[in-house]
Symmetry: C2
Subunit: 402 residues, 2 copies
DNA sequence: TTGAAAGCGCTAACAT
DNA sequence: ATGTTAGCGCTTTCAA
């Protein structure tokens, strides 16, 4: 594990035996060893491969002094172009006035050297970090990559960059990922859910940056919140189920103790059913493995145990899809003998033999809105403390009788 | 977009009107305003909510001086605990000798204040960054999250942290993401594929850190490479197809101009078929949309156009799964009348009505190995320049006749 | 076991 | 339009 750092040391940190002031004075004076001439000659010649170089990126091999391989700094560029570090800094950040001639010289030098600015130093000096921490439970859930897409779409235009951390649905991991990310002093935090450890909540409260909790609005946010009410989603689904005349309802979902949103949907469902005097007839839980396969297996299990069920509500579309495939293979009459519904509105459903009833979770929009709040460009937005509740749309598909 | 930084400014940067030396002297002397006593009393009392606080994370609200809200620094902790910044630094990094009593005082103070170390400053001072840049084409492809999982598994034990960047299969985006990430001076880079812009290649060559290109080994790596030969994968699939006696083969894949690995598999397939004197009978391409649905549609299209095809090779499992579902619905005899195969070995296949023939792409192992190389813990590893070719296993499933 | 000094590579603020 | 000065918040190195 020491290798990377150690190796860099060995390769790079060869002695540089003159002081800063001295060197730049030398350079400015033309160089006692004719140094600037050397740089100049080699720098501004050919070497124009890579059209993208013109876009402001500054790569290409350092052909000048291949013998001295140490990390390049602003000073190297300043020496190579004969201007001060400050001017180089201005050019590379396109800030302040710089003459065209100077800009050209600097850019060419930077490009030729292959200089990549050091954002660590830049961030420390400017107290500005263009990073946004995005903390999500999982990457394999399809749902979160879509939120990410929304976030990226918006941040792209703002100069901010998302940095992803994954918690695996573990509160302690969320806490440590958050800690790690906050230690890089990001410009904002977007994280899934409203349930966090006390410590995590405290860290966010103290961070002094915009925090947006996403996906869920049923609870007390630290700062801003963007999402849907999963409780209401469950309620609405209960309404649709009852309206279609189903009576014996089963629930199938994850066993994860921290899948709060699935839990809230279940609670909403039960509440809705209760208002019609119905209680959940059976339930089945799973954890891990291929969700599609689990959906099949759970469906088989619950139907064997409770053959009189006439509706199955799945906590997500993947297990719902598995259930749907199972039912079709078994020749079960969907939706008349048995109704089915999932949750999320994932793209995958479009390719199934029947359209599974589902509820769109507004993932893209959630991501976009959260990013807008972080970037301070949310239309009509306050400074902090926003609450945006989106309305998921129920799609009855072909698996709820109408 | 200025909001975050600006806001922090306004909130935090209230004047602090004494010098560093003075204050710490005061604190150490007991405080001219009895300051240390105040800290002590309030700091070391109750407030022990959040068991995770004991784990080394240091949150909890700053209850001491809620009126002065500026970002906490080492100095705040040093003042609060009455030791030098250096000692605090030692405690928080568990480096060097510190007496138990001092350590306790420091930790308690840090915890109580909710201090989160500033890694930007730390990284600049130590020239050490525990970040590993991971650059992948997409998050929605299921394949890459699995590689990520392998990477995370290994890095977890090393103190290194993956940071993800997404290119959307665009070389220019890869270049800019790489540039952005290198500017944070990570300890290593893991990126998908061997095809990059000249500029990107040059940046990596100059970065002086371990670079691991993953997924594919057919080409010239910048430094190390871990993957499978997609060309060979195509070849082997051709062998299996021919061995099963199929003759009229169609290919279905992405249209993305930069999906080099799919292209190489196709080339390998064609090469393998050619050795038996067979050429591809038809091909169909897609881009965007639900892969499962596209798989269906493409299958319908290609079969309408070329009804005599007896085998379909899909460039990925999702479109293959769509094709499989389509064929089953249409009552096509799979695998006798028509054979099918995909690529990747995704988990989803386990839940389908039949097991689609596929080839496991060793994604988890690729991620793990790449991370080991970055961390310098690859068994028998060199320092840089490693080449690890893994062998994907062909799974015939139920869609190639045997 | 602890502390003081120097400086990492940049940028803000203020010259010029 | 360009340069100088003084840090940003830490860690390294050396001294005590």
């Amino acid at each position: 594990m020491l290798y990377p750092a150690e190796l860099r040391r060995r390769i790079f940190l060869l002695p540089v035996s003159y002081t800063a002031g001295a060197l730049s004075a030398i350079t400015q004076a033309g160089g006692i060893w004719g140094r600037r001439e050397v740089w100049t000659r080699q720098n501004f010649s050919g070497n124009s491969k890579g059209s993208s170089l013109s876009e402001g990126h500054l790569p290409v091999t350092n052909t000048i002094r291949p013998d001295i391989r140490r990390p390049l700094t602003l000073r190297d560029v300043s020496e190579a172009s004969g201007v001060s570090e400050m001017t180089v800094s201005r050019v590379l950040r396109s800030r302040g006035d710089v003459s065209d001639a100077t800009r050209e010289r600097v850019l060419t030098a930077a490009r030729t050297l292959g200089y990549v600015p050091n954002k660590i130093a830049g961030a420390l000096a400017s107290q500005r970090v263009n990073l946004v921490a995005v903390i999500i439970p999982s990457l394999s859930n399809m749902v979160y990559p879509e939120v990410m897409t929304g976030i990226s779409q918006v941040l792209e235009d703002t100069g901010l960059q998302p940095v992803v951390g994954v918690t695996h649905y573990l509160p302690e991991r969320e806490e440590s990922v958050l800690y790690e990310m906050l230690s890089w002093r990001p410009s904002g935090v977007i994280l899934a859910g409203l349930e966090h450890t006390d410590a995590a909540r405290a860290m966010m409260g103290n961070a002094g940056i915009p925090i947006v909790e996403v996906m869920d609005v049923d609870g007390e946010p630290v700062d801003s919140v963007v999402g849907i009410s999963h409780r209401r989603a469950g309620l609405e689904m209960a309404g649709a189920i009852l309206a279609a005349g189903y009576k014996r309802i089963g629930f199938l979902g994850t066993m994860m103790p921290y899948d709060h949103r699935a839990r809230k949907r279940l609670e909403g469902l039960e509440e809705g059913l209760a208002s019609a005097g119905i209680t959940l007839a059976d339930r089945e839980f799973y954890s891990g493995g291929s969700a599609l396969l689990k959906g099949r297996e759970m469906t088989e299990t619950i139907l064997k145990r409770s053959p009189d069920l006439d509706f199955l509500y799945y906590s997500n579309d993947m297990i719902g899809a598995g259930g749907l495939l199972y039912c079709l293979e078994k020749g079960i009459d969907v939706p008349n003998r048995l109704g089915l519904a999932g949750f999320n509105g994932v793209e995958l459903l479009q390719g199934l033999p029947r359209r599974l009833a589902t509820m769109d979770a507004c993932r893209l929009e959630i991501g976009r809105t959260a990013a807008q709040i972080i970037a301070g460009i949310h239309p009509g937005g306050l400074i902090g403390g926003e609450r945006v509740e989106l309305s998921p749309t129920l799609e009855l598909g072909d698996t709820i009788r109408q």
